[in-house]
């Protein structure tokens, strides 16, 4: 549903505002790498703008820091109404490795609502393009949550019902596992 809305709202081109709220510059470099001719992202109509007032999309890098939380919130509020927020990098997605230190508040979704997540430290430029392509509906997302539940004890317990008579011999079924 969000994807349909995206295709409707952001049909032509995305103008991107690039907000760093205290990251280490690793993700910044990768985002700027996306905008180079090598990964030429203007094929999709994505263009970097300098002001959040001109932007459709906000690319957030770095965790929400104590010092920049308010500025980030104000930048988000300055964007015109149909807006998307991308959290790029593991800092923006989950708080980063220094998630429990004093200046770090946590992921950016604590301050502003986030629509798309691109984890990685830093994510490859391809990964960022992939995330944007997922948002535009060009490709399907590849990840899905994995849940595994073991139903049987891996080391079998001795139980008389596993004993079978073969002629004179009595064979324990799960003998080779034990």
């Amino acid at each position: 549903m969000l994807k349909n809305l995206c295709q409707k709202m952001f049909g032509r081109s995305l103008w991107v505002y690039h907000a760093n709220s205290g990251g280490c510059n690793g993700c910044d470099i990768e985002v700027l790498n996306v905008l180079t001719p090598y990964y030429d992202v203007e094929r999709f109509g994505i263009k970097l703008v300098g002001s959040p007032r001109h932007a459709d999309v906000m690319l957030c890098q770095g965790p929400a820091m104590r010092a920049t939380a308010q500025a980030l919130k104000r930048a988000y509020e300055a964007m015109p109404a149909p807006k998307l927020v991308f959290a790029i990098g593991s800092c923006a997605c989950g708080g980063g490795v220094w998630f429990d230190s004093y200046p770090v508040l946590g992921p950016v979704e604590k301050i502003i609502p986030v629509n798309y997540y691109i984890p990685g430290c830093p994510p490859r430029p391809e990964a960022i393009i992939y995330g944007v392509a997922v948002a535009l509906g060009l490709v399907e997302k590849k990840t899905a949550p994995v849940e595994f539940k073991e139903l049987e004890l891996p080391i079998p317990r001795y139980h008389p019902k596993d004993l079978h008579g073969q002629g004179e011999l009595v064979v324990y079924e799960k003998a080779e596992k034990v």
């Binding site: 989950g94 490795v97 997540y117 430290c121 949550p145």
Partner: protein, 174 residues
């Protein structure tokens, strides 16, 4: 003279060719040692929780339901793909895959959850031995990480209540 130099520039421009990659259609091959998302192999995992103890981002949670059942939950939100979990795993159950296209609209999509039967040692309870004495102390007994609030809890501390950070933020934004 100027026309000739312009022609020379044109020749250089024509020779340069095209560098743009047709990315979503065709990907560039990855470097050999690239570390992507860690994949947990549940059939090999013995549930020693060495990965959880060595994760610098503390993104692997362990919850012991009882003596025999252990829940191992990898969240992956702030995972930096450092590969320490794969290094420390005694059974090589964790492999750093080459998947990097993890862009999603729900952060829960990159999580993995294993519910394992533990074949415990009758004497010590756990069989995996940590290298340092401090870490061995940390390992003993059960682990009760907070799976609801998705946070890692030291054994020495009681269960943490709610989310303390959110209130801090309110103060900051006023």
């Amino acid at each position: 003279m100027s026309i000739l130099s312009k022609l020379g520039e044109t020749a250089i421009c024509l020779k340069a060719g095209r560098v743009t990659l047709p990315y979503p259609a065709q990907a560039r091959p990855l470097p050999e040692k690239f570390r992507g998302r860690p994949i947990f192999d549940a059939s090999k995992c013995i549930g020693c929780a060495g990965c959880a103890n060595n994760c610098p981002a503390r993104e692997i949670l362990v919850f012991d339901v009882c003596q025999e059942i252990r829940i191992l939950k990898y969240l992956g939100r702030r995972c930096t793909y450092c590969g320490r979990c794969a290094d420390v795993c005694p059974e090589k159950a964790i492999t750093m895959s080459q998947e990097f296209e993890n862009g999603t609209n729900q952060i829960g999509d990159i999580g993995q959850r294993l519910e394992l039967f533990m074949s415990t040692c009758q004497r010590c309870g756990r069989c995996f031995q940590e290298p340092s004495v401090l870490e061995q102390l940390k390992m003993k007994g059960y682990r009760f990480d907070d799976l609801q609030n998705e946070r890692w809890i030291f054994r020495s501390q009681a269960r943490l209540e709610g989310d303390a950070v959110v209130d801090d933020l309110k103060i900051e934004l006023d």
